[in-house]
């Protein structure tokens, strides 16, 4: 099928283009997922709206105690942005671990969120930082909602027809540090099997710890036990193992509640892998936290 292609140059033009969208229309930003999924398929897409020429959508700046990241900002730019590095280190680290350098040069934070892959590296980070998403409508108005409510499940978001994710807003929280750990199937150019985003208040011991576990369920999981186990004390092997046990149990429950195992996990060793390997994520995260404090 022949598809139309619109490349708006202003927000207004983008809004107008949104008005022309049908349920078969797609928005293309970096294209790192869309091009791969459309390639060689019988595309029913009637309209592509490209975000390539919207400079504002790629910008990152500070505003009223928030940092605003345009949905079109690429991972490489977010990783290297000084405001992000200073305030949202976990996000910078997560961006540095997305795909290959070529993917990081093209792939965008907006694309990562809208695709809502359970293994998406941005998801646990924006949840961790209490981020909000700003959504543009066809009438050129925008509204904001918590990122946590935006992600509904695997591949599912709260985005409605004729809407586009326009920006991500993260509130600046003074006095906090953060870190990000990703366990893939190899060192680099890999998809997360387990990811963890953690933030804490600086001090003698870790305080007010917030943590999210990614890639083990359809949405990032908030880890309330992290604060309970790790805060306000010297963290030793015992605390680490307690957290390992807790997360292992969480992953076990998720596995047992699945109707069937993921199709590539054929052997029992493959099906149990995340439960076993979560120890490495816990130890890496705490090592990094200690290195940072």
């Amino acid at each position: 099928m022949n598809s139309n292609y619109i490349q708006p140059r202003t927000r207004q033009e983008l809004s107008q283009a949104l008005g022309q969208m049908t349920e078969n229309s797609r928005i293309i930003a970096g294209g790192t997922d869309l091009m791969a999924s459309d390639h060689g398929r019988d595309s029913s897409t009637d309209l592509y709206i490209s975000l390539f020429c919207l400079g504002d959508m790629a910008e990152i700046y500070r505003e009223d105690g928030w940092v605003r990241i345009g949905a079109g900002a690429v991972h490489d730019a977010i990783e290297k942005n000084p405001i992000i590095q200073e305030n949202f280190r976990a996000l910078s680290m997560a961006c540095s671990k997305v795909g290959s350098q070529q993917i990081r040069n093209k792939g965008t934070i907006g694309g990562n969120l809208v695709n809502a892959s359970p293994a998406g590296d941005m998801l646990p980070c924006v949840c961790l930082f209490l981020g909000e998403v700003e959504i543009l409508r066809a009438d050129d108005t925008t509204y904001r909602m918590p990122a946590r409510d935006f992600i509904l499940g695997a591949g599912k978001t709260a985005l409605k027809p004729k809407e586009a994710l326009y920006a991500v807003w993260l509130p600046i929280q003074e006095g906090r540090s953060s870190t990000f750990v990703k366990l893939g199937s190899r060192k680099e150019v890999t998809i997360a099997q387990i990811s963890m985003a953690v933030s804490w208040e600086k001090g003698e011991y870790f305080q007010k710890i917030e943590g999210y576990l990614g890639a083990v369920d359809t949405r990032p999981i908030y880890l309330e036990e992290m604060n309970h186990i790790l805060s306000g004390r010297a963290v030793g092997r015992e605390e680490r193992e307690e957290l390992v046990s807790s997360l292992r149990e969480r992953i076990r429950v998720i596995r047992e509640n699945r109707k069937r195992p993921p199709k590539l996990k054929i052997t029992e060793a493959e099906q149990l892998y995340k439960e076993r390997a979560v120890r490495s994520v816990v130890y890496d995260a705490i090592d990094q936290m200690e290195g940072e404090s």
Partner: protein, 762 residues
């Protein structure tokens, strides 16, 4: 051997295609365009086993630009075999263009030829196939059962003739050891997928096929026989190849492209997607290997027997031959008085397996090197010391083929490697470090060899034709198929070295069956050893012919004419020089002769290529990830014609070997037989960043016959890497894992078992 100072041989010069490749200027087959060219797309079947009982193609014909729709109902019933590489070879002959008997999920059931790829694709989707479903045998276990569904009329199992030397049953050595190893299916990872262009000329009735292949004459014979055309009317031209690793040794899609071209009297192109490359070309066999040995207390091997069971997938193709060749490779490394090999091939309702880099060496070496590492451990011997006791000396008899192993240096590979890798120190350090903690270190090593020719499996010859042009430059025609690794450059160097002319003056063309003398194909690592000899001899003969011509011009006798830097002169008049250009012009203008020469060489030996790999790994016992920290490969190459490209080959072997040992696996759904991994997103390979800064050492003692002493390198580089890595992981963990790949989940499973056993013991 006294090392002569050469102009080009032994100097590092890049692959002559490198500039074109990095700038995108090189034209691959899939890049070819021509007015009116048509495009083929194939339709994949939806069942693992059954029969096509109907095909509704009416929807396909409604798509604009469709020129033909092929199914089993309107194409010939003629059988062919993708694995046959010569007209005189026997093969299982089980394949048809479209078979009504469907044997694996995704097998091609139809094809469309249309004006554009998109139209062909759309039309394929609109074809409706009606099936009758049979029970399927997806695993070897299922296919081996007595009541298993018959995948082929003659049954599912092929037993190879046992390969025997001595009498294993008579062995009485005190240590009996048994081990098992397993290799999973993998894909070849050639960046260029299969691409074929076929053009049939209505006027002349000639068929030309362009393909990035390894066996142009083999393909010609298959197409000629299949289409019932004289070979003289079929021309196969090898195009630039973006990697093969064995997958382009076979005639996979050429018959369909050629059939369509002839049927439509048209110019057609087919390019496989990655999905088709994985599911519809071929994969590397999944193999189960059982080894038993008898060894004396001092570590001397008395006998070894190996049983191998290969999963061929849906069609036998090369598998019987592959399985037999594995047995033939048992005696290449060690002096073992008693050897026995039994091989079985099993057809299953899964994607086809076939040719892969090293053709059986990788499998057989993995089996016995895993085994010897275990035996050395049981005898409390260092694995290098164990091997030093047993390896071949130069010119030992290679028992399976009754030829010698040639001028080989197994001892030196081990001793130099031990020293350069600081094996003993590393081994000690790892053992000390491994007392406790999250990370464990391990070292491992393995030894291998491979072929340099296909002699004496069958005779092996090389042919070359060289022509001096009237400006003194040189064109060499040799039946070469460069896989992308620089064999054309090697031939240019050999020619330029002999002719003492600038490398830029030498053009070497790749194979074109309408121009070139016969060649078997570039496989069995024979290119440098055999074709290199042919080019060298051809240039030497040509130089003699030119010398005689120069003698005429200089009014002297040929025996008094000297040659230096591309110029002839009389010994007593060194200042009067006659260039090749002047000689060629004189030959054409005055003597009425063209300065050309053809030469043939026949293989007299098949020297081994000893290759030792040493590696150190770090295993994360929390995540199961293995990091290769450092490694060294030592290769007895005879002579490295182009050291840089040899180092590159070593790197490619390490990377592929890491993939085989640690992560690569094409998974098949055990219930449906569907190939579950058909893209590189889900296919785990060792990336460039995972490969350490490896070291490569070459032993260059020169082979008796190889050009400038050169033997092979292209395949052997990968062979010792997986068993060395297996040994290193086991050394780190104190395990005996031999079921590959050793993925993080396999490693964590083993650690869990280990801990369970420990707590049980307490």
């Amino acid at each position: 051997m006294q090392q002569k100072e050469y102009r080009y041989v032994g100097k590092s010069l890049s692959n002559d295609n490198a500039y074109g490749k990095v700038t995108g200027a090189v034209q691959y087959c899939g890049d070819m365009m021509a007015p009116g060219m048509l495009h083929i797309k194939i339709k994949a079947g939806e069942i693992a086993h059954g029969r096509v009982i109907g095909a509704d193609t009416s929807g396909a014909w409604k798509v604009p630009g469709v020129k033909a729709v092929y199914t089993c109902f309107n194409t010939p019933d003629t059988l062919y075999d993708r694995g046959r590489v010569a007209s005189y070879e026997t093969a299982p002959f089980q394949e048809r263009l479209f078979d009504s008997h469907i044997r694996y999920m995704g097998e091609r059931v139809a094809a469309v030829v249309a004006d554009t790829v998109e139209h062909a694709q759309e039309a394929c989707r609109k074809i409706k196939i009606e099936y009758e479903t049979y029970p399927a045998a997806v695993t070897m276990e299922e296919a081996l059962r007595e009541d298993a569904p018959k995948i082929h009329e003659k049954g599912n199992v092929y037993e190879a003739e046992p390969a025997v030397y001595g009498d294993y049953q008579s062995c009485s050595a005190e240590h009996v050891h048994r081990s098992r190893s397993h290799l999973g299916r993998i894909t070849h990872l050639s960046m260029e997928t299969y691409a074929v262009r076929a053009r049939y000329e209505k006027g002349s009735g000639k068929l030309t096929v362009w393909t990035g292949c390894q066996t142009a004459f083999g393909i010609r014979s298959t197409l000629g026989d299949f289409l019932d055309m004289p070979y003289s009317k079929v021309r196969v031209v090898k195009t630039t190849m973006g990697g093969s690793f064995g997958c382009k040794q076979e005639t996979v899609i050429e018959p369909l492209a050629a059939y369509a071209a002839k049927d439509l009297k048209a110019d057609v192109m087919v390019v496989y997607t990655r999905e088709e490359q994985i599911n519809n070309a071929m994969l590397k066999h999944s193999v189960d290997l059982e080894v038993e040995s008898k060894v004396h207390g001092d570590g001397t091997i008395e006998g070894m027997q190996i049983k191998a069971v290969l999963d061929a997938g849906a069609y036998l193709t090369v598998s019987p031959s592959y399985c037999s060749v594995m047995g033939g490779k048992l005696g290449k490394v060690y002096r073992i008085p008693h050897l026995r090999y039994e091989g079985t091939v099993v057809c299953t309702n899964t994607a086809v397996n076939g040719s892969f880099r090293s053709w059986g060496s990788g499998e057989i070496v993995l089996a016995y090197e895993n085994h010897w590492n275990q035996v050395a451990e049981e005898l409390h011997m260092d694995p290098i010391d164990f091997r030093l006791k047993n390896v071949h000396q130069a010119y030992d008899l290679e028992p399976m083929h009754r030829v010698t192993v040639g001028n080989t240096y197994f001892h030196e590979c081990l001793i130099k490697g031990r020293e350069a890798f600081q094996w003993d120190q590393r081994k000690k350090k790892c053992a000390e470090k491994n007392k406790n903690g999250r990370y464990r270190c391990g070292v491992g090593m393995a030894l291998a060899s491979h072929t340099s020719s296909k002699y004496p499996y069958s005779s092996d010859m090389g042919n070359a034709l060289a022509r001096i042009q009237d400006d003194g430059s040189l064109i060499v025609h040799v039946g070469i198929h460069d896989h992308g690794c620089g064999t054309v450059m090697a031939m240019r160097k050999i020619a330029a070295e002999i002719m003492e002319i600038d490398l830029e003056q030498v053009e070497v063309t790749e194979i074109d069956t309408s121009v070139d003398l016969y060649d078997y194909g570039c496989y069995a690592s024979r290119t440098i050893y055999i074709l290199g000899q042919a080019v060298k001899k051809c240039c030497e003969d040509l130089l003699e012919k030119a010398r005689q011509m120069a003698a005429c011009k200089l009014d002297s006798r040929a025996s008094l004419i000297k040659y230096e830097n591309g110029e002839f002169y009389k010994e007593d008049e060194p200042n009067e020089r006659l260039s090749l250009k002047e000689t060629a012009k004189y030959a054409i203008r005055v003597k009425g002769e063209d300065l050309y020469m053809a030469a043939s060489v026949r293989s007299k030996e098949n020297p081994g290529v000893p290759s030792a790999h040493f590696t150190q790994v770090k295993v994360d016992t929390y995540s199961g990830m293995v990091e290769v920290e450092d490694c060294l490969s030592v290769h007895d190459v005879g002579k490295a014609l182009n050291p840089d490209l040899c180092v590159g080959q070593v790197g490619s072997g390490i990377q592929q070997g890491m993939g085989i040992a640690l992560c690569e696996e094409i998974k098949i759904d055990p219930k449906t037989g569907r190939t579950l991994i058909t893209n590189f997103k889900n296919y785990e390979v060792a990336n460039a960043v995972d490969v350490p800064d490896y070291q490569a050492l070459f032993i260059e003692e020169g082979d008796e016959y190889g050009p400038f002493g050169a033997k092979s390198i292209g395949e052997v580089v990968v062979v010792p890497v997986p068993p060395a890595l297996v040994a290193a992981v086991n050394n780190a963990l104190g395990t005996r894992l031999t079921h590959l790949p050793l993925t993080p989940s396999v490693i964590l499973e083993a650690i869990e078992r280990q801990q369970e056993e420990k707590s049980h013991d307490h």
